[in-house]
């Protein structure tokens, strides 16, 4: 049983894992890049070691250096978080080889699910429905893909074989635009995962993205913790998640949950994982992929089930039995998570970097924030733009939405632009409130501008007054500066007088 965990990650998830370890009395080892010397995970861990320069390839992706740190610090377990090395079979295998406990699934499970093609083949065998696509992927050239595309039918999706998080994903409407899109998808996949391989998948229209949280121990127990609705996405990046999904009833939940458990069992899964499904408007569901790691949005499941997923991951890795049976998992109330990104929603969600100069977090009943930033911390262009997760719980979905609105209104971050206004606009939208949305909602039927049209005269007037008062203050202040400079110049005037006097 291990007693010291190295967290091979950064940001909010590194902090989240450190917290779980601390609450379990386990020592923690952080690793950090040069950009993260003052990051919270570096500050909060019991030990912290520099990996290298800011770019991920030179720091958080350097498995060799991470193993060096593990050796030096005596860490006997590694938690990979999400992203970076979390879904690398070779990383997990190397841990085994070095006698370091990898807090996650076995290398064979990662391999089976990590290659999207193999994953599909495996679950098909287990009787799990999948979206039609190129199932034997990995070696397909552009020519191969262009040939097979019409058989799948348009619209379709290009997806990165090693992928996740929408990176390297492109939507193709027709064969003409496909070559360009293949090229850019491969480029992005290569840059994000070091692997430019892609595959094709039928685009299920009007689909919802609904995923099930799985927990499995080393003793053969596998349970699910219910679903998360993740259809609110932009550029295939999840922005808002909620649990339960307003689209599922008890019957479909049980059915999908059972299928999810079956899919996990098909790869002898151990630890926490997520089965992603697409659900079409007729309630048909298709296996999409399995994320063989902790998920960004795990807190909403924690809020409705009361299960501490990260603590449970650690217990499982320590060889314990699951703390819960499926029957003991009760769903209570409704939780929503908004991902707060350093992006300007009024400038096409352009990333925003800079130093956070001031921050006020929303707090109070039913509000949780997971973040790795604080006033004085610099948001750099090297990593993911997500700087915080704002999570609320309410007895009902309506109450959770109202609570999220007040929390968003309270949240202040100064120094970088954030997508908080996007979330505010979304929480005000009738379609979101009504639960009527699919994965295309944000891109196709939502805009910051259309919401702005509803602005009443009164608000425009307040905005006018605010700007006028600030402008007036500015003018007054600059007048003062000029005056002060005049005074300051008096020494020089005096020198001038001296010159004249003695000329």
């Amino acid at each position: 049983m291990f007693n010291k965990v190295l967290i091979a990650n950064r940001g909010e998830i590194a902090v989240r894992i450190i917290r779980a370890c601390r609450e379990l009395g386990i020592d923690t080892v952080a690793v950090f890049s040069e950009a993260d010397r003052n990051a919270l995970h570096t500050r909060y861990a019991d030990e912290a070691y520099l990996l290298g320069p800011a770019p991920s390839r030179e720091s958080y992706l350097r498995a060799d250096k991470i193993f060096e740190v593990a050796k030096k610090s005596g860490a006997d377990a590694i938690h990979p978080g999400y992203g970076f090395l979390a879904e690398r079979e070779d990383f997990s295998a190397k841990c085994d080889e070095l006698g370091i406990k990898f807090i996650g699934p076995k290398p064979s499970s990662i391999a089976a699910m990590g290659d999207k093609g193999k994953a599909r083949a495996t679950v098909i065998k287990a009787g799990v429905p999948v979206v039609p696509g190129t199932e034997d992927v990995g070696n397909m050239t552009d020519d191969d893909l262009l040939r097979v595309a019409p058989k799948i039918g348009f619209p379709l999706l290009i997806k990165a074989t090693a992928g996740g998080g929408g990176k390297g994903m492109r939507e193709v409407r027709n064969i003409e635009e496909m070559p360009t899109l293949l090229q850019s998808a491969r480029r992005e996949a290569e840059s994000a995962f070091g692997d430019g391989n892609v595959y094709l998948e039928k685009l299920v229209e009007g689909a919802r993205h609904i995923e099930f949280q799985i927990m499995a121990d080393a003793h053969g127990n596998v349970i699910h913790l219910g679903e998360r609705e993740c259809s609110i996405q932009r550029r295939h990046q999840k922005l808002v998640e909620e649990s339960p999904s307003p689209f599922l009833d008890e019957e479909l939940r049980t059915k999908m949950g059972n299928v999810a458990v079956k899919a996990a069992q098909a790869v002898d899964y151990i630890n926490a994982g997520t089965i992603e499904f697409l659900v079409d408007k007729d309630r048909n569901f298709y296996f999409l992929e399995m994320n063989t790691r902790l998920q960004v949005e795990h807190p909403i499941t924690e809020m409705v089930t009361g299960v501490d997923i990260v603590a449970e991951q650690i217990r499982i890795a320590r060889g314990r039995q699951l703390s819960y049976t499926q029957d003991q998992i009760q769903f209570n109330g409704h939780a929503i998570e908004c991902r707060v990104n350093a992006e300007d929603p009024f400038s096409n969600f352009m990333p925003s970097t800079g130093r956070i100069t001031h921050s006020i977090l929303p707090t109070g009943p039913g509000v949780r924030i997971d973040t790795g930033v604080y006033p004085g911390f610099e948001i750099t262009p090297y990593y993911d733009p997500m700087i915080a997760k704002l999570i609320v719980w309410g007895e009902t979905r309506a109450q959770a939405i109202l609570r999220m609105r007040r929390a968003l209104e309270e949240y202040r971050i100064v120094g970088v632009r954030t997508n908080i206004p996007f979330h505010q606009t979304l929480m005000d939208s009738h379609r979101f409130m009504g639960g009527q949305f699919d994965t295309r909602f944000v891109e196709e039927r939502f805009s910051m501008e259309s919401a702005a049209e509803k602005v009443d005269e009164a608000q425009a007037e307040i905005a006018a007054i605010l700007a006028t008062l600030v402008a007036h203050k500015e003018t007054e202040r600059s007048t003062h500066i000029v005056r002060r400079n005049e005074r300051d110049a008096s020494n020089w005037k005096w020198v001038g007088r001296w010159e004249r006097m003695h000329r």
Partner: protein, 165 residues
């Protein structure tokens, strides 16, 4: 001091009467206006109503973020307003546009070449930042001039990347 303030094409005449009062149209309003913690966050109590807002200085206009909505606000005093009216208003088309990096990042691709004619909305450059590839587009039709960066190069925020004539 009198200002003419424009929001979404609508003009407001706002007079700063004294520290505690403004006049807007013919209404005299009590204001209590404070910046919070020395930040561009402002608390306004206007005849008892409490508002809070981020106010940023843009290139020409002010950006006011109020309850999740952003307003572009132009504040001018009477003299400025007259001058602009006399100048005929409107930014001259045809003048050179300099594309600046909106954030630090890595140039991933430059799908245009110097001398190429581009349409408004056409992608000029792909910049990778925060693990996302961001397309920088032409704000208007024109001809690409002086591409100052190369693929694979890092750029600083606000660095000029290329120009459009």
């Amino acid at each position: 001091m009198k200002y003419i303030t424009t929001v979404n094409g609508k003009e407001f005449e706002i007079e700063i009467v004294d520290e505690r009062h403004i006049r807007i149209g013919d209404r005299l309003l009590t204001v209590d206006f404070e910046s919070v913690s020395g930040q561009p966050v402002f608390s306004l109590i206007l005849d008892g109503k409490s508002f809070e807002s981020f106010v940023y200085q843009g290139d020409e206009d002010w950006e006011v973020l109020l309850r999740g909505r952003q307003f572009q606000v132009r504040v001018e005093d009477e003299r400025e307003k007259r001058l602009r009216a006399a100048a005929g208003g409107g930014v001259a088309e045809g003048c050179e546009f300099h594309l600046k990096a909106p954030m630090p990042g890595l140039v991933v691709a430059i799908p245009v070449i110097e001398g190429q004619t581009v349409k408004k909305g056409q992608v000029l450059l792909i910049l990778e930042s925060m693990k996302m590839q961001n397309e920088l587009k032409a704000p208007r039709d024109g001809v690409v001039e002086r591409i100052r960066v190369k693929t694979g190069e890092s750029v600083e925020q606000k660095q000029t990347i290329l120009s459009i004539l």
